[in-house]
Symmetry: C2
Subunit: 313 residues, 2 copies
Amino acid sequence: MSTHFTTRLHAAIKQKKTPALVGIDPRFEFLPDELQDKAISSGKDPWSAKAKAFAEFGCRLIDVIAPLVPAVKPQAAFFEELGHAGTTALAEVMQHARKSGLIVICDGKRGDIGSTAEAYARAYLAGADPSAAPWGADCLTVNPYLGADTLEPFVKVCQERGAGIYVLVRTSNPGSGEFQDRKSDGKKLFEHVAKVVEDLAQRTSENDWGAVGAVVGATYPEELEQLRTAMPHTPLLVPGYGSQGGTAADVAAAFSSDGLGAVVNSSRGINFAFRSDKYKDQFAPHEWEQAIEQATHDMIADLAQHTPAGKLQ
Amino acid sequence: MSTHFTTRLHAAIKQKKTPALVGIDPRFEFLPDELQDKAISSGKDPWSAKAKAFAEFGCRLIDVIAPLVPAVKPQAAFFEELGHAGTTALAEVMQHARKSGLIVICDGKRGDIGSTAEAYARAYLAGADPSAAPWGADCLTVNPYLGADTLEPFVKVCQERGAGIYVLVRTSNPGSGEFQDRKSDGKKLFEHVAKVVEDLAQRTSENDWGAVGAVVGATYPEELEQLRTAMPHTPLLVPGYGSQGGTAADVAAAFSSDGLGAVVNSSRGINFAFRSDKYKDQFAPHEWEQAIEQATHDMIADLAQHTPAGKLQ
């Protein structure tokens, strides 16, 4: 069996019949009351107590969604906010996700030069064998500002280990165009970045898809359509669905006609479904896992109905 | 006493009479033999054993240089490469640096959107009170690709806590121009980023200097001179001196005429001085701390002789 990242990702997508990606974005004040109460009464220092709650929440979330989706995307920042206790919880959550058969995309948006970039790559990109790197991820998000030469150390480790990266191309925030839309030589900056990423995707391709992907926000559907065409070998990671305002119709253009080539992420909409207007009357506070499960089913159905991902069913 | 980041940094620079910044970039294979041997024979798992060696190396390095320089810049990537044991060592090293009276600039090159950016800010930016954030740094390096709106959460925490950020403007790697030099509306991308950073520096200024600074590589002396003029309120962090090829003459333009407004970083040239051709005949392997001390004195003298930092003496 191939160890190539996107080949493995696509196998998982076909098995689960959905490209739904669940972000793991714990925020202490949004956690289920029972986990907050346990942390507060634990007597531990606040950072350690919250980190333990993050680990329990992340692992229980994984237990609910592992049968349903192909991959998870833990957000490093929320774990790092709790110091080294938080990063220990991040490692625990990522290991639990791998053991549960999920593809793990660590959302760290790392980037640096030369040997420093290589250190980030070796830290996070375990690839096919979870024990090959201490953080054990299949894949990492990477920032391209420093230049294409700084992506090379990541690509090298991807090829050695069957890992992947998603390079930020067009981000989902309101101000993403400020630098990313600046036009030179007839193209916007994000299009120049996209060209570099597509070249790397071609170079690392297997079964037509590269191990180097691109992050393109669901909040910019026109750019998403344009980039899918311009980057035929590049798998896309599409954030911004759900809480950030992107709809299934907005992300439809991210896919190739067979429903592959993209994963669509929802974080808050799944993680804290039990606090949302949509689900909070349907589920009691202690039924937070059932609310998460229902929200995941609803996202999967929404993507199946309105995008080529329906062909996977 | 003011808690403003750059006011505190400048006080430290005046006290130590130098703008020399020492990077803390541990690499296991370059550590002193005694620390490598101790780790290998410790019986711990390799990542924990190496992390313990990183913590000891970092703390002993700090003990040597704390009387000599105003600030240190730990490189997060090399610690993260060892997993959560490594990040625990990073926290220990940063706490030891703060206790030793040093300004701590965590080199993490973080960047994300909205509440995620705020999580990174709250994680790293302790500012004036080291206990205000789990990682306890005064300052963090930040990547601007996602847009100016994503810098705001960092600026907010800087102002609340007397912390600082250095935003990547022109990096020191050979390929930094690929995206950073792209020209739109008559200016290169790094100049557009520089304008945003200078505006934030003005907004956060005290004693003429902002709490928002810029990273500009020593390997591009012309851009350094141009940016010093274009960014009169922006403190600069200049990497690339020493091992990367930048000379004291190359960095002279980074300073204002009183020798303030910039810190110049050396990492490998100081950390592993005892392995360099310049010092290895002068010091025995077990005299690695003396080699580090001599290399630091030599860097301070070099900057004093060839840059306006000489006015601090």
